[in-house]
Symmetry: D2
């Protein structure tokens, strides 16, 4: 359904072209400083129209905190945040009412729910991820202050980052840690836009200063919870941790030799070493004439990065509270 988490539980609501999107964040401890300004940077990071490689749609996305915060601090009560939708041009989407787009949720939503809000993808729109980014900000505040959650574009189409320079990530429109490859990605994607085509990619999320002891046997292994969180994002087609799919061709001697292959998780529980997570992202399926009109992203990778960072924060905050409850 539309909730995720046990002790730190988020409930998301809202359609792309409805009145408002929002999220209820339940289980946040009391006494944590929180204000609207805290939310803005992450909202800005996932906003479309930041550059030529993402959609030009304007979203001012002003969040309002409706509850759970008093005199600048959380109260332990549910924190509801809404963002009103502006400038819905429903007319643009009228053609989609009875014509599901190939590769979109349109088809299965129409089949399952029959009556649906078709405008701009309705509930299945990527706009829903705004709720996650907001919740991610709160989640981060629950974790120890030195925990660092860092996503970056490792691959876009045939282009793969070769170097890692953290400071470069926010300097190029693709959020690639390799300045040169990042520039190539940007140019590549710009060309696709002219062609009305799109492309997929690969995102790595690293967590530094990772707390140990997070994750529970056997069905709530940390890797299982993270995989769930990642695949709950529409654009994600795959998840792995540590050596991931490369482990398929590895020998045990080699796998064991490099602790990085374990990705910071052993037996489903965090070891305290850096988490290394990977997601594959599909090409956006809005292509052809629709895409040329300019309201769609030819490559969603840079905008998914803050969303995946948020999903990691949300998952870790929940695991953190659960681990605390039974700590010796």
């Amino acid at each position: 359904m539309n909730s995720l988490g046990e002790l730190f539980r988020i409930t998301s609501f809202g359609e792309s072209h409805g009145v408002a999107l929002g999220v209820v964040i339940d289980g946040c401890p009391a006494g944590i400083p929180l204000c609207v300004e805290d939310l803005l940077p992450e909202i800005a990071r996932r906003r479309p129209g930041q550059s030529e490689v993402t959609t030009a749609r304007k979203e001012s996305d002003t969040p309002v905190i409706l509850s759970g915060v008093f005199e600048g601090k959380t109260t332990g009560m549910p924190i509801a945040v809404t963002v009103h939708n502006e400038g819905q041009r429903s007319g643009d989407y009228e053609a989609l009412r009875n014509t599901p787009r190939p590769g979109h949720a349109d088809e299965t939503y129409a089949a399952k729910y029959v009556h649906r809000d078709h405008r701009g993808g309705g509930r299945s729109s990527g706009r829903e991820t705004l709720a996650r980014v907001i919740a991610g900000v709160v989640a981060r505040k629950i974790l120890p202050a030195d925990v660092q959650i860092l996503g970056h574009a490792q691959q876009v189409g045939h282009l793969v980052a070769k170097t890692f320079e953290e400071s470069e990530i926010e300097r190029n429109a693709m959020r690639c840690a390799d300045a040169q490859v990042g520039q190539e990605m940007v140019e590549f994607v710009r060309g696709l836009k002219d062609e009305g085509d799109s492309v997929g990619g690969r995102i790595e999320v690293v967590v530094r200063n990772m707390p140990p002891h997070l994750g529970e046997p056997v069905f709530d292994k940390l890797k299982a919870r993270l995989a769930h969180a990642f695949l709950s994002v529409g654009a994600v087609t795959g998840f792995s941790y540590g050596a991931g799919f490369e482990s398929a061709s590895m020998r045990g001697q080699d796998y064991v030799a490099n602790p990085a292959n374990f990705g910071g998780i052993l037996g489903g529980i965090s070891s305290g070493r850096d988490l290394r997570l990977m997601a594959s992202i599909k090409p956006t399926t809005s292509i052809g004439e629709v895409a040329k009109k300019g309201r769609h992203d030819p490559c969603i990778v840079p905008r998914v990065i803050p969303v995946l960072e948020a999903m990691v924060a949300i998952s870790l905050a929940d695991a953190w509270l659960i681990a605390r409850s039974r700590a010796t």
Copy 2:
């Protein structure tokens, strides 16, 4: 924790060398024929010692149904099944009491729980998957009879299946649908055993005659639930569906052109087309002198196949019941 699912919910318990392993299967409708004999084939498929490529440890694994079945049919009450452990040679493992093995859960379990059952991996042992295989048999009985869940070894180390012949799968010890590559895999793994080494692999699970409408927005997308289920298996390092990680390098035009790339899921909801799921499996981390003694699998892939099939069945049975509840 040790439960999975909402309406079809399994609770697993037991350690590798404890008194017994077991599972409580809650939410199974009444009136479904079920007996111990139904469980035996799948238990046999995951059993070690089936061939030279898996561990030689003898496990007779006789299940006992304690509840929930009366006069050969389910009653709608929780079905508890236990399998007593036999021939625990705890002495073999005494050395591990204070020496966690690299790459094993030993390390994180010792750190998190302090007091643990170290024998044979205790709770983190692959033996726990017996509970899942048993639950999978029940799950399958809830799904429409023509739903077919089929796993096979697509890769072992550097060897990748090139053809797909369903009837070959159970004919070779690796469960490879390519008879010739399957034979090569068997020989390769036999060689590794002599070296005291191990190897990873890749498993594909296909679901045919897949019911549409399964999966819920937005956090319980079918792909998210399946990713959770897959990654809850110790040996799994990655999950993907449809084009998966290949989608990272695909263009939208190509991605959309082939519906198989969607893997049977659109917007997180099953479309009715075949599900195509993939898991990467790490090499077993019991290597060197320990491995040569012969009680460990140099390649866990063939034994994980029935476990992943079971996890798919369990996930689909839960999604099936949920979808029924609100069907129009």
Copy 3:
């Protein structure tokens, strides 16, 4: 936490004097007609200031549906409804910041959360029940149309209804089905107001045309879920069904002789006969000079009635969806 239910799940948020109260209603099937006007009658029924026996505080309580409804019908997506708070006179409550009122949540909230919104009870205010009344309207639409959920004041202080005339319930300010006793109750409560005192009472909720098969063994017996729902309302101090506390002094022969004693539930599952539920309501703890100022209810009973009806509807809607999922 702030969510209730499995398949029909509501999440409530908001403080008495915060920006807004609201509720997210998840799991409602698609295609059900729903508009703001549907919500107004129940909101009006729980509103204070309806008569001299309830608080004179003005609450216009205009709900806004933010999501989950399109072109007048539900879409199967989460339905978020907010009600903005108006005319918060926080100054009135400044005295309470550091002075918990006896018998109020002030004390435990201050101890547990330390940082809290003290204004008007904050989250623990009865105003939160607005969320439940709204969700109750939606819940009712899921149940078969002929299901009738009917609450009435059976007792207020020493006054106990002797007759039952359904049409009288909404005709007197206490919602008593006995016209004469209802009038006595109104006069009694008016007198208490002058004294700055308050009084408790007893509410019965009857469900007619009750569907059979609702409720699950063993921890989710229908009576257990209903007790949970009732006691989640701040003013409720007790719950019973059927013969309830009178069963304590009954003999088996007498108990069995009258099926009404079973209250419509056998073995935790609804039998199809009328549900008979009872709640005891404590006197409001705002008394003395505070009460005389006129912003508090001397008797909360009539306003709790629509809240308990809503809690019954919410519980039954969830049980209904769950029962459907496994129905043969």
Copy 4:
């Protein structure tokens, strides 16, 4: 379903005349001493046939711990305990196969599940409470050592305890804290047995040295969770806390004057004062010739007492772990 609790979660299984009953206790922290001997006293307390006022059926009830305990201490893994059923005389119950008993679960189970285990009530038998008593022992070990959970018979039929002498409780067969009334109760019930009749009663459970801060807003108020737990016991027809149903006739001035009226819970959160909980118990519905044969309890009250104590312990253990997770 058959699980209860969030962080301390129990899953119960088994039928009265099936192979075995059992419980899986998940979420117990590691390192707590636990052995079979710890379970025996509480099992003995709920056992039938302890005296002439309870059923003469012999139940040896030997528990076996299958998992989660190693070298005498818990490991943090799920603790599974089974009790095999002995001497099932199914033949005795053959008459009930197609004849549901009035006032029993037989009727609703047969209607809902169609195929059921009719023997001795099957899953709806009071024998299921064995699982709860076992889980209660573990729950108590999680709570601070000085927490004291004390149940006693406050009423049986027309007989009501007038004094409270803790040491008397286990000295009379009814578990009444008033020695003289307890003796009258025993004689009264003995007479009913001869008549083939039965009687209800009222049980109070007091918790001393109660930890503060337990319970969560708004749907998981401690009183709501306790009401849920109490009403999940088949014999319970009502729940109240503090002044309970007496609050219906109280004035605010009087209610507030005596803190005992609050029952140790304010705003749904424990205040640290003693918990005062009450349950009404229905007369057993096995009456007439069936009852005279002597295998049924004419008054279930004394046997329900350890079950309700266990339900309190289970509820508090869960609330305790949850409260710890977010404690400042």
